[in-house]
């Protein structure tokens, strides 16, 4: 059994509702699944101490984060909860999946350098538009694929395809929003090894 830690900053003023929506998608996805060690970390608990407590003992785990980000950290109103300078080594042997701005520029690389097996994130702005499910669908897609056993190289390809599908469906009527989705797609980045959920389990 592998630990799955899911961080959602649903109380954030700007993107809280987007994060909330994604969390609901995850909850729906995991209903009735065999995975038992799922922990949701919400806004109030999104701080480095809590992260430390939850991850210290684990030899490997899966981690997803939906919150604000900058090139070298993830943060909430409670502070930086994952950062290149604070707790980067906690993510050794993990699969790290985030939907936040810019972390692909530095944080991703730092994670891998400190033992994280594979990282998915964005090296630019991550945009979303109220009322358009396409943004969250594309955002979540890769994670679910990982849970289902696809290897990460393949996941990256498929995420791009997914993005393109939605862009192509949208652009005629919703050119503006499509242009934002395109920016998300081109910001997507994967760093690290080509792993599957099983290879992660075996690392325990």
């Amino acid at each position: 059994m592998i630990n799955i830690l899911l961080a959602f900053d649903e109380e954030d003023q700007e993107i809280g509702s987007f994060n909330q929506g994604c969390r609901e998608d995850y909850e729906t996805y995991f209903t009735g699944s065999e995975h038992e060690r799922i922990t949701y970390i919400s806004s109030n608990s999104l701080n480095s101490l809590n992260i430390q407590v939850r991850t210290e003992q684990l030899s490997s785990f899966i981690f997803a984060a939906y919150s604000h980000g900058e090139i070298n950290k993830l943060f909430s109103k409670s502070g930086d909860y994952v950062s290149s300078t604070v707790n980067i080594e906690l993510f050794k042997n993990s699969f790290f999946y985030t939907v936040s701005c810019n972390t692909g520029m530095q944080l991703g690389g730092d994670l891998i350098a400190n033992g994280c097996k594979c990282y998915f994130g964005y090296k630019t702005l991550f945009n979303s538009w109220l009322g358009y499910k396409e943004f969250s669908e594309c955002a979540n897609y890769g994670f679910f694929k990982f849970i289902e056993g696809t290897n990460t190289n393949e996941i990256f390809e498929q995420m791009i395809i997914k993005y393109n599908q939605h862009i192509d469906d949208m652009y005629v009527e919703h050119f503006f929003q499509a242009s934002l989705l395109r920016e998300n797609r081109d910001g997507l980045i994967k760093i690290g090894e080509d792993i599957t959920i099983n290879s992660l389990k075996q690392a325990i």
Binding site: Q13, E14, I15, F18, S67, H68, G69, E70, V99, S100, C101, N102, L125, F126, N127, S128, W129, L130, G131, N164, I167, D168, Y171, F175, F176, A178, S179, L180, R182, E183, D186
Partner: protein, 202 residues
């Protein structure tokens, strides 16, 4: 396109009766030609008619006690960079008007002794500008939308949110964020062309 031509000049009476106005009214409809001789009134007019595509003919020489043409141009630019302002002046192109071109993005220059034909050509250029400018396109798109334009709809997980009106303002004042939207549209266009979803000869 909801077009309107605004003429700002202190000698407005003479101009209202001139041959140029006959031509303009025949072309755009008399409802769409506006005149203001008071600079402050002119600014008010613009603010109230931002939903239209306004082309402005601006006289530079105003009596000194009032705002002069350069200052009026500055004030217009504070409202929006997207309105074409054509300088109309008896003074020939010189250092003064030149600096307005650079600093305040004047759209063009017409001499007071220009023929109606020359003036209409310049106005046509301004109309083309509306059609080809992405920023103007976005502006029109937002203007045409219904609903609450003050509700935040666009979010980035950098921590920023924008309503439609805010996006409109960013575009009009050409902030970095404002300029980025046209850029994103262009990038999508290029992407579609590269992926053969669209071709150029449509």
């Amino acid at each position: 396109m909801d077009l309107c031509v605004l003429i700002i000049d202190d000698d407005i009476q003479r101009i209202k009766e001139g041959a140029l106005i006959w031509e303009l009214e025949d072309k755009f409809g008399s409802d769409n030609i506006a005149f203001e001789s008071d600079p402050n009134e002119a600014i008010n007019y613009i603010e109230e008619n931002l939903h239209k595509n306004i082309i402005i003919l601006l006289d530079i020489q105003f009596p000194d006690k009032v705002m002069n043409g350069h200052e009026i141009l500055s004030k217009i630019r504070e409202i929006s960079e997207l309105i074409p302002v054509i300088l109309w002046s008896a003074v020939s192109e010189d250092k003064e008007t030149f600096s307005d071109f650079i600093n305040n993005n004047a759209f063009g220059f017409l001499s007071k002794s220009a023929t109606s034909e020359e003036m209409l050509l310049m106005i046509d250029r301004a109309i083309s500008y509306f059609k080809t400018s992405l920023d103007n396109t976005i502006e029109d798109w937002i203007i045409q939308k219904d609903g609450d334009k003050d509700k935040p709809v666009y979010f980035t997980s950098e921590g920023k949110s924008y309503s439609l009106n805010q996006i409109l303002n960013e575009i009009r004042t050409q902030t970095d964020v404002g300029k980025s939207f046209a850029k994103k549209l262009n990038e999508l266009t290029i992407d579609l062309l590269l992926r053969n979803k669209e071709t150029l000869n449509d």
